[in-house]
């Protein structure tokens, strides 16, 4: 009975993989976003909705994240960024912050294992944000993962942690001024290129589409600088409920607005 169930679920898995591949072949007839960004909102509401314990919503959210990463890499998205933890989130109850940090540490260390998503898809991982605000354990794990995946070239994953746009802008201004101090003979001021060079997100092109789950219509201090020409998409599903359909719909929305944004970018 167990073997029959295993065979049936294996068959279903292969069938759904085949159908997904057909769907992606159709999608790829149009432009595919180079950079897809996500605000993973709604994990706590999901836990409440499903009557789960503290932290269970974030664990469910992690599984949704892995699925979304797989779909995006399969369809050909090269850069994915996710808002894992905001500087504002440190204001939450200490127990909740600890639960989330423990989960981040566990999953970060998981990225170093063979067979991880970074391994499977050749993903280079960046941890982007004010990493000095993190505990030493999490920071060291993050640095290990960045070093271990530095040689990967197929896809890029940017995990925004201890990040806000305002902090990013302040850091960039600080670094520009540091550069200017070192070249004190140079009388020219900073320009836009200097500021953008020092942004935490400077390792990737600007996002083409930003998906915030749970239907909220604000960016909550995330990639405010980078989203000038970015389609904003807010499905009502909570983050652990985000599925292939939302990724596909996001790509279709991007394709509909592609010509408009290309025209805008040419005008700059």
């Amino acid at each position: 009975m167990d073997k029959a169930n295993e065979r049936a679920s294996g068959l279903l898995g292969r069938l759904s993989g085949f159908m997904r591949s057909c769907l992606f072949k159709v999608l790829c007839m149009g432009p595919i976003p180079t950079h897809f960004s996500f605000i993973m909102d709604g994990n706590r509401r999901y836990a409440k909705k499903m009557d789960m314990g503290e932290g269970a919503g974030h664990r469910a959210g992690f599984f949704a994240l892995v699925s979304v990463l797989k779909y995006c890499y399969e369809v050909g998205v090269k850069y994915i960024s996710v808002y894992a933890f905001s500087i504002d989130n440190f204001k939450r109850r200490p127990e909740e912050v600890k639960t989330i940090m423990d989960l981040i540490l566990e999953k970060t260390e998981g990225l170093l294992e063979e067979g991880s998503i970074a391994d499977q898809y050749g993903v280079r991982v960046y941890f982007v944000g004010n990493l000095k605000l993190l505990s030493e354990q999490v920071r060291i794990a993050a640095e290990k993962v960045m070093e271990a995946t530095a040689h990967n070239t197929r896809c890029v994953l940017l995990i925004c942690i201890a990040y806000t746009s305002c902090d990013e802008i302040v850091n960039s201004v600080r670094e520009c001024c540091k550069d200017k101090m070192e070249e004190i003979e140079d009388e020219e001021g900073d320009d836009l290129v200097d500021i953008e060079k020092h942004m935490y997100m400077g390792v990737a092109p600007d996002p083409d589409i930003l998906l915030r789950s749970s239907g909220e219509k604000r960016l909550s201090n995330y990639q405010l600088w980078q989203t000038t020409h970015c389609t904003l998409y807010s499905p009502t599903a909570l983050w652990p409920e985000i599925s292939l359909l939302h990724v596909v719909w996001g790509i279709l929305k991007f394709q509909r607005s592609y010509a408009y944004f290309e025209k805008k970018k040419k005008m700059l």
Binding site: K217, R218, L252
Partner: protein, 254 residues
């Protein structure tokens, strides 16, 4: 050799037919989506009519005090339609919205700000208000006009100002990280003319839901709502957007 070429040619044809089939399917998907959007737009037009005629009673009472500062982003190509912009502002004035920022990336609205203010009965430029006016209950409509030069370029000017300030302090032993804070950058932005407050709500009148470069420093927790293009603006849709905003509850990350 001939048979190999024939097989290659045949598989090439199959590949081309396959691609054509996929292209057709893709176009069909987008056509269906366009039809769907047309139906949704028609339904929105009907709903807007019902709201503006007062038949949908829940939108009659707006808690407008929650909306302290409104921003409107308009596609630059449409911003030349000054009469449409003035109509929109008149609707907002009737609803009780007194403080707002009008933004378009290319600065078209900035060029017509004098004529826009003139066409409204009771409006002033935001920069003409002093600290006392800002603290008191607004008596007239105050309009701020912004463009892309107030966004990223504003931050560049603020960075240069901060650097000049820092050098005046005379510390050349290395950069003092503590000098550069969010408060300092905020103050520098105000000093270079990027003074406006953070809007609570940002309405986008453009083909796509996107802030089009509205100053990043000011949109941390701003609700961004897409209203469609300026030419299809409706009073009912505007009322609904503001009503929905007044029902939003934010955690600010907590």
């Amino acid at each position: 050799m001939d048979s190999k070429q024939k097989v290659r040619g045949f598989s090439c044809s199959i590949h081309q037919i396959g691609n054509l089939g996929l292209q057709l399917l893709w176009s069909l998907v987008h056509l269906l989506i366009s039809i769907g959007y047309f139906v949704v737009a028609a339904a929105a037009a009907v709903e807007s009519y019902l709201i503006s005629s007062g038949l949908l009673t829940r939108y009659k009472v707006l808690n407008i005090s929650k909306l302290k500062y409104l921003a409107i982003v308009i596609e630059s190509d449409d911003a030349v339609q000054t009469s449409k912009v003035v109509q929109l502002l008149r609707w907002l004035e009737v609803m009780g919205v007194k403080r707002m920022c009008l933004y378009d990336a290319q600065g078209v609205l900035k060029k017509s700000k004098a004529s826009i203010v003139k066409m409204l009965d009771n409006a002033v430029l935001f920069e003409e208000l002093d600290e006392k006016d800002l603290l008191e209950k607004p008596k007239c409509m105050a309009l701020e006009f912004a463009s892309m030069s107030d966004g990223k370029e504003g931050v560049v000017k603020a960075a240069n100002l901060l650097f000049a300030k820092y050098m005046e302090l005379g510390n050349r032993d290395g950069l003092d990280d503590e000098f550069f804070t969010e408060a300092q950058v905020g103050e520098a932005l105000r000093a270079v003319g990027c003074k406006g407050p953070e809007p609570d709500l940002l309405l986008v009148y453009a083909p796509v839901r996107c802030h089009l470069g509205f100053p990043a420093w000011r949109t941390r927790y701003t609700e961004i709502v897409h209203m469609g293009s300026l030419k299809s603006m409706r009073l009912g849709s505007l009322t609904k957007a503001i009503y929905k905003f007044t029902r939003v509850r934010q955690n600010y990350g907590k």
